[in-house]
């Protein structure tokens, strides 16, 4: 475990020293992400000019949720996105060879080696927005509740990574470019909506096998609507379930890779 943390520190160090080299990309990313944040906040501001509550949340509560999923998004953009973007290419072109040789988990290196130092500023911006959302919040918040909220958002970000892996690992068999990844990004929009606006089958789907509602909406609900063991237990169960599934699925994928590559 300590070895993995130290390895990760190296990844960070390398990514930062490399990011400094490409200034244009650096600023471009910041602008791009800030526009994305603006659009999302603007969307809800417009909605709330027509209504006072949405899925049981008012405007100030909604801002906490919006800031929450933007943090989940920013963590993913910074920690995982660069790695996962090239993964299908790596698989299809047989680039995994050297990673399989190292006495370190291949899933660990391939998911985390490239930290997007360019997006780091956005991570700070997203957390800044989160703090603003919590400060402007009209109700009362407990310190414990806030800490749990932030922790669960981090776990939510990991859950989002795990879910995306489920859409990427089939590349081992299909060798298709990134078809499934596009499906993931279409579905990813559900993370931007509070889970209470969905009903029936949709709600079951979004809180179990496609747990987009679990990632940000559940943590926000635990903070705003008060702690609930059912929601918390479901959050943990889904995360653990997906961790085990991805570990197993990855192993199967590597096995397929090693039977096919020459």
């Amino acid at each position: 475990m300590i070895r993995y943390i130290r390895l990760y520190l190296y990844f960070l160090q390398f990514s930062f020293s490399r990011a400094m080299e490409f200034r244009f990309d650096f600023f471009f990313r910041i602008v791009m992400d800030l526009v994305y944040y603006g659009i999302n906040i603007g969307f809800y501001l417009i909605l709330f000019s027509h209504t006072t509550t949405l899925g049981g949340w008012n405007q100030s509560q909604m801002l906490v949720f919006v800031a929450g999923f933007l943090v989940v998004d920013a963590i993913n953009m910074t920690v995982f996105a660069n790695n996962l973007w090239v993964l299908p290419d790596f698989i299809n072109k047989g680039e995994l060879d050297y990673y399989l040789l190292r006495p370190v988990s291949s899933l660990f290196i391939l998911s985390l080696r490239d930290f997007a130092a360019n997006s780091f500023v956005n991570l700070i911006a997203a957390f800044g927005l989160l703090i603003y959302a919590l400060v402007q919040y009209e109700g009362t918040l407990s310190v414990g509740g806030v800490i749990l909220f932030i922790l669960l958002l981090v776990v939510g970000a990991i859950l989002r990574y795990l879910l995306r892996m489920c859409f990427l690992i089939p590349t081992f068999w299909l060798h298709a470019g990134r078809g499934f990844d596009m499906v993931f990004f279409q579905l990813n929009r559900f993370i931007e909506r509070p889970h209470r606006i969905f009903t029936g089958v949709m709600r079951v789907l979004l809180t179990s096998v496609l747990p987009f509602s679990v990632m940000a909406s559940f943590p926000a609900s635990l903070l705003i609507d008060g702690f609930s063991w059912t929601i918390f237990a479901q959050f943990i169960a889904v995360t653990v379930g997906f961790s085990l599934f991805v570990a197993w699925f990855w192993k199967k994928g590597i096995r397929a890779y090693s039977s096919a590559s020459s």
Binding site: R3, R6, Y10, F14, D97, L100, L101, P103, S258
Partner: protein
């Protein structure tokens, strides 16, 4: 160190006729072809031994090396490397092997070599002072100390290969696979890398498998070679014996003082066979034990201005075995 028994591997590839229509057809119906990469291969390699693995493109060399290093999963047979199953990819196994592929560079970060080596130190858990000792030794023997702080992509091909070698050997592997380590390099770099491998082997005595298309690599480094053709081992033994086993003998070429004399000349079949005659020159293939008597026979029966006795060229022999002309 390496024990392989009845190893086989078949790849299933789908075949498609060219053209758009056939592409659409293949969407619905696929024709699969089995490609045998390895066919009941058995071999055994000991500590400190360096074996040259030779074969034409697609003969199965890389597949074999990748199976031994745990990247590819075989279909049948048993493989033990340092007593372990390579494809279980245990850390204890992976910590003790190295694979260098000349055709496939490692994709690390866009960083100077020195940084990548630090990362490898962490990955393999090499103690700090041991690490700097080994690194100094390797960079000095490869004469590349001054390039350590330059970004990898700015290095020449030869320099990058040297860095690859260092990267692969820092953790002192007991088993080393070198898949075409000198491919695309100029003569000087080839020589430097060859010398380095020889020295390294002397000092550390790992079990090594070397594949190369350059016969010179094999001839200078390997006492034993394995020739592989269409997934089967067709020769496994000392390099020196290849010539004896696979060529009928030596070649005597006699240049005659008077050209017309070749007509009517013949040699008793137990002494050799005439391969070619042109007006002034006659070439005879002679079994090794008969060399002296055959030479004197030729000298007695012909008036000769020049005579040469040659060993058939080793790379020509190996090449013909590789292509299956010698059976």
């Amino acid at each position: 160190m390496i024990e392989v028994r009845d190893l086989s591997k078949t790849f299933r590839v789908h075949r498609k006729q060219p053209g758009l229509v056939n592409s659409i057809k293949s969407l619905f119906h696929r024709e699969w072809v089995n490609n045998t990469a390895l066919d009941s291969v058995s071999l055994s390699i000991g500590k400190g031994e360096i074996v040259g693995l030779v074969g034409a493109n697609g003969a199965g060399k890389t597949t074999l090396v990748k199976i031994l290093s745990g990247i590819i999963h075989p279909d049948g047979g048993t493989v033990r490397v340092m007593g372990e199953n390579p494809w279980e990819r245990k850390n204890s196994f992976r910590k003790n092997i190295a694979l260098i592929m000349g055709q496939k560079a490692q994709r690390w970060w866009d960083l100077p070599a020195a940084d990548s080596f630090l990362l490898l130190r962490e990955i393999y858990g090499i103690p700090k002072d041991e690490f700097s000792k080994r690194l100094n030794r390797l960079t000095e023997t490869l004469d590349i100390t001054s390039k350590m702080d330059i970004q990898l992509r700015r290095l020449s091909l030869g320099e990058r290969m040297k860095m690859e070698l260092i990267a692969a050997l820092l953790h002192n592997p007991q088993v080393v696979f070198l898949d075409e380590p000198t491919i695309g390099l100029d003569i000087t770099s080839q020589r430097a890398i060859r010398q380095f491998i020889a020295d390294y082997r002397q000092e550390h005595e790992p079990a090594m498998i070397l594949t190369s298309h350059y016969m010179e690599d094999i001839e200078t480094l390997c006492k034993r070679i394995i020739i592989i053709r269409e997934g089967k081992i067709v020769y496994d033994g000392p390099l020196a014996d290849v010539v004896e086993k696979h060529t009928p003998g030596k070649i005597i070429t006699a240049t005659l003082s008077e050209c017309s004399l070749t007509e009517g000349f013949s040699i008793p079949s137990e002494l050799g066979t005439i391969i070619s005659t042109d007006n002034c020159r006659i070439t005879v293939q002679v079994p090794r034990p008969k060399l002296t008597s055959a030479t004197s026979y030729v000298m007695e029966h012909l008036s000769i201005s020049d005579l040469s006795i040659e060993e058939p060229d080793i790379s020509t022999i190996i090449e013909s075995i590789m292509r299956g002309h010698h059976e």
